[in-house]
């Protein structure tokens, strides 16, 4: 690696401006308002993000994007995580943009313009792309897709869907999968929103004989992984960054509480047992921050070698977020348990983020495989 793991001047500026914007436009109270209104995200907020060029962070300049790279995308995701801002950023600007870019799709410009995408991949309760079995059977010159996708992030509202389907081989085989880029309103597609604990947009999606043509195939048929693998890496790195931001947000609230709150006649942050736990958590966050920064760097510099770096980041980010929100609730005591307080939102999003795009065990196994055991 040549680039420093410390943010450059440009990166610090990007972070500062994102932080200032989000503090104003999307504090945690916005998530609460969305939740209470039964609205999974605020399209107005997304429009503003699009105007700032965030939707095109990974889109080449010739397609109207800013082409700032994965580290920059990670900084944006991290800042969104810090205040729990809900948006289609990861699904569209990170995952779909990377897939479309790998496939050389002309629709990239639409992403930079704010079109929203969702990746319809999971079929069981655990992330396992190669186990996908949703059938795309040959029909005339095209395909007919039938089956169910579950836990599709942003799937209830997305304009378009990337649907992973099996065109050959059997579930468990990495080959024989094809990625379709479909308008979400196409005949035969029905979407069922889910009431996930993080109050965001997740849906189950049923495909009932949905017709698709070769035009709808992203990349090559039977070889989805060529475009999907980079997209997944990008999404996993971005989600890791979001979880790191979430962790930092939860920890910040907790540390501030420890400094202010008094009990038994003293500030609770003066209790050594809490000090040591807080300091330990801070160390964990520092280590995870390194893994997240590194994943972004490697994706920018040698993306084909990024599997290990990305999986280290996602595994660490998942565990650290869990620790931070658990300690956050416990150290806040009763108030941390009340809905009126924000910590619960952090805990709920951390849980959803732990599962999306592969849980700790999935990524730890990938690390082991990369390390030869």
């Amino acid at each position: 690696m040549t680039a420093s793991l410390v943010p450059s001047g440009d990166e610090v500026m990007l972070r500062d401006s994102a932080r200032a914007f989000l503090a104003e436009a999307s504090p945690v109270s916005a998530l609460r308002a969305n939740r209470d209104a039964g609205r999974p995200y605020d399209p107005g907020l997304w429009s503003e993000m699009v105007k700032m060029g965030w939707a095109g962070v990974l889109v080449p300049e010739e397609a109207g994007g800013a082409d700032m790279g994965h580290r920059a995308a990670g900084i944006l995701a991290e800042e969104m995580g810090e205040v729990l801002a809900a948006s289609p950023f990861l699904s569209s600007a990170v995952i779909a943009a990377t897939a479309l870019r790998a496939a050389g799709s002309a629709r990239l410009a639409e992403i930079a313009g704010g079109a929203t995408y969702a990746l319809a991949l999971d079929e069981t309760s655990k992330f396992a792309p190669e186990r996908s079995g949703l059938q795309a059977t040959r029909a005339g010159n095209g395909y007919r897709l039938t089956g169910r996708k579950c836990f599709v992030a942003d799937g209830g509202s997305a304009d378009r869907l990337l649907v992973l389907a099996r065109t050959a081989g059997a579930p468990g085989e990495p080959q024989g999968l094809t990625l379709f880029d479909l308008d979400a309103s196409r005949a035969g597609i029905s979407r069922s929103p889910r009431a996930t604990v993080d109050s965001r947009d997740h849906a189950n999606i049923d495909l009932d004989g949905v017709e698709a043509t070769g035009e709808d195939v992203l990349g090559e048929a039977d070889n989805a992984m060529a475009v999907l693998a980079p997209a997944l890496r990008a999404g996993q790195a971005g989600l890791s960054a979001e979880l790191l931001g979430l962790t930092s947000g939860a920890f910040g609230m907790t540390a501030a509480y420890l400094r202010e709150r008094r009990q038994f006649g003293r500030t609770i942050g003066s209790f050594q047992a809490l000090q040591h736990r807080a300091a330990h958590l801070w160390c964990e966050i520092e280590v995870t921050a390194s893994a997240v920064a590194n994943a972004g760097r490697v994706l920018d510099e040698t993306p084909e070698e990024a599997d290990l770096a990305v999986s280290v980041a996602k595994a660490r980010a998942t565990q650290t977020a869990k620790l931070a929100v658990s300690e956050g609730v416990q150290m806040h005591g009763g108030i941390g348990m009340t809905d009126e307080f924000d910590m619960g939102f952090y805990m709920k999003r951390a849980r959803v983020g732990a599962e999306w795009l592969g849980d700790y065990g999935y990524h730890a196994a990938r690390v082991a495989a990369a390390r030869g055991f």
Partner: protein
């Protein structure tokens, strides 16, 4: 009426037929829902005539408070007889006829600290399910530091005027009376100057507001006292203070230990509600092919079994003279284990377990609710403080 008998077998036969005679078969179905619990009190709506009849039969026999003295509305059973009674209830799937904070907390406090007249007045109201009590200890901003009571009762000659608020008062919105810690002497050191006071919830100036938790709706409330007048003696001449004036902390401490044993013991109940084994067997095989999840499940199972054995061992110890402050261990170990269990259940259910009312029902709410286990009834940190000072004899400074 129940035929008492000193012969255990005869007693068992008697109690068994008494249960069968008074607890209608429709009540004896499991699983039971929270709605079927009989709480009593003036505002309680029985879920069925059978439920009401069962409570009344128990109240008449004193079996709503099996070990309380007969003169105070109890059945006067021995520890051994009570055990037989509970075993027969369980065997016949019969619900406990009456549950209440009066039975669990105020009653034991009155039996220990109350006057004969207070006992005669208040205890039978509890055993008969006439008055539903709630507990007013914690205050907003006080957290674990229960002794830092700010709610104050000012002495106005023949009455007190109470101002302040309480938090975490379970079912305060459905209770008739509250037993509360109030500061009656603001000059005294922190642990002095507190009194254990009985207050009518219908008195002017008392109001409640429900608390929503991160896990959803909850029985908890905030309770506010705004210039509430509490007579020093009510018409019957009974004091509204339990125990000595300004020594309410002694009463509270006694009850806290009592509560801790209940919650620690409750760990066994919690463990039972979601059996890990049954859960795991229902899962997609692939889930437990993951060595991380398999390892977590194995670790949890080892620790759950050993903790269950510990509950058994401590019950045996309690029979032989008590466990003292070591009960803090049960609270700590039981609640921390339960949090781990629910973290694992969330992990093994994966995305199926993320919906509020999805494939695994209330699992996400239950998971979030477990996070309070190690806060309520004394935080894990307070338990570890107690253990290090009282059991391990480690110095304060």
């Amino acid at each position: 009426m129940l035929q008492h008998s000193d012969d255990p077998d005869t007693f068992r036969a008697n109690i068994s037929s008494w249960i069968e005679a008074h607890c209608a078969p429709e009540l004896r179905a499991i699983p039971r829902t929270d709605q079927q619990i009989c709480w009593g009190g003036k505002r309680f709506e029985f879920s069925s005539a059978a439920q009401k009849a069962w409570m009344q039969a128990a109240a008449e026999t004193g079996l709503s408070a099996p070990r309380w003295p007969i003169e105070y509305g109890g059945a006067g059973l021995s520890r051994q007889q009570e055990k037989v009674y509970r075993e027969e209830l369980a065997r016949l799937n019969a619900p406990t006829p009456l549950e209440s904070f009066g039975l669990w907390m105020l009653g034991p406090a009155l039996l220990e600290f109350g006057t004969h007249e207070q006992k005669l007045h208040y205890l039978p109201q509890i055993t008969r399910g006439e008055i539903r009590w709630c507990q007013g200890y914690s205050e907003p901003g006080a957290g674990s530091d229960l002794a830092s009571v700010q709610t104050r009762a000012e002495d106005r000659g023949d009455h007190w005027v109470v101002n302040g608020s309480k938090i975490w008062t379970s079912y305060a919105d459905q209770a008739d009376w509250i037993f509360a810690l109030v500061r009656t002497d603001r000059e005294a050191p922190k642990h002095r100057g507190i009194s254990f006071m009985l207050i009518d919830m219908t008195a002017e100036g008392v109001s409640t507001k429900p608390i929503r938790l991160i896990s959803g709706a909850s029985p908890f409330c905030e309770t506010f006292f705004d210039n509430v007048v509490v007579p020093k003696e009510d018409p019957a001449g009974l004091s509204r203070i339990v125990g000595e004036l300004n020594r309410g902390w002694d009463v509270a401490k006694h009850l806290l230990t009592h509560e801790r044993e209940m919650i620690g013991g409750g760990a066994q109940g919690l463990l039972g509600t979601r059996s890990l084994g049954a859960f795991l067997q229902d899962l997609d095989d692939q889930v437990l092919a993951d060595p991380v999840l398999r390892t977590r499940a194995m670790e949890l199972e080892v620790d759950s079994l050993a903790t269950a054995m510990t509950l058994d061992r401590y019950k045996d110890m309690a029979k032989q003279g008590g466990v003292g402050h070591a009960s803090a261990m049960l609270k700590y170990a039981g609640t921390e284990l339960n949090k781990r269990r629910y973290e694992l259940l969330m992990s093994v259910t994966g995305s199926d377990g993320l919906d509020w009312d999805g494939a695994h029902g209330a699992l996400p709410s239950e998971w979030l609710r477990t996070k309070a286990n190690s806060i309520e009834g004394g935080t894990s940190e307070v338990m570890l403080d107690i253990l290090s000072k009282r059991v391990l004899d480690l110095p304060s400074q």
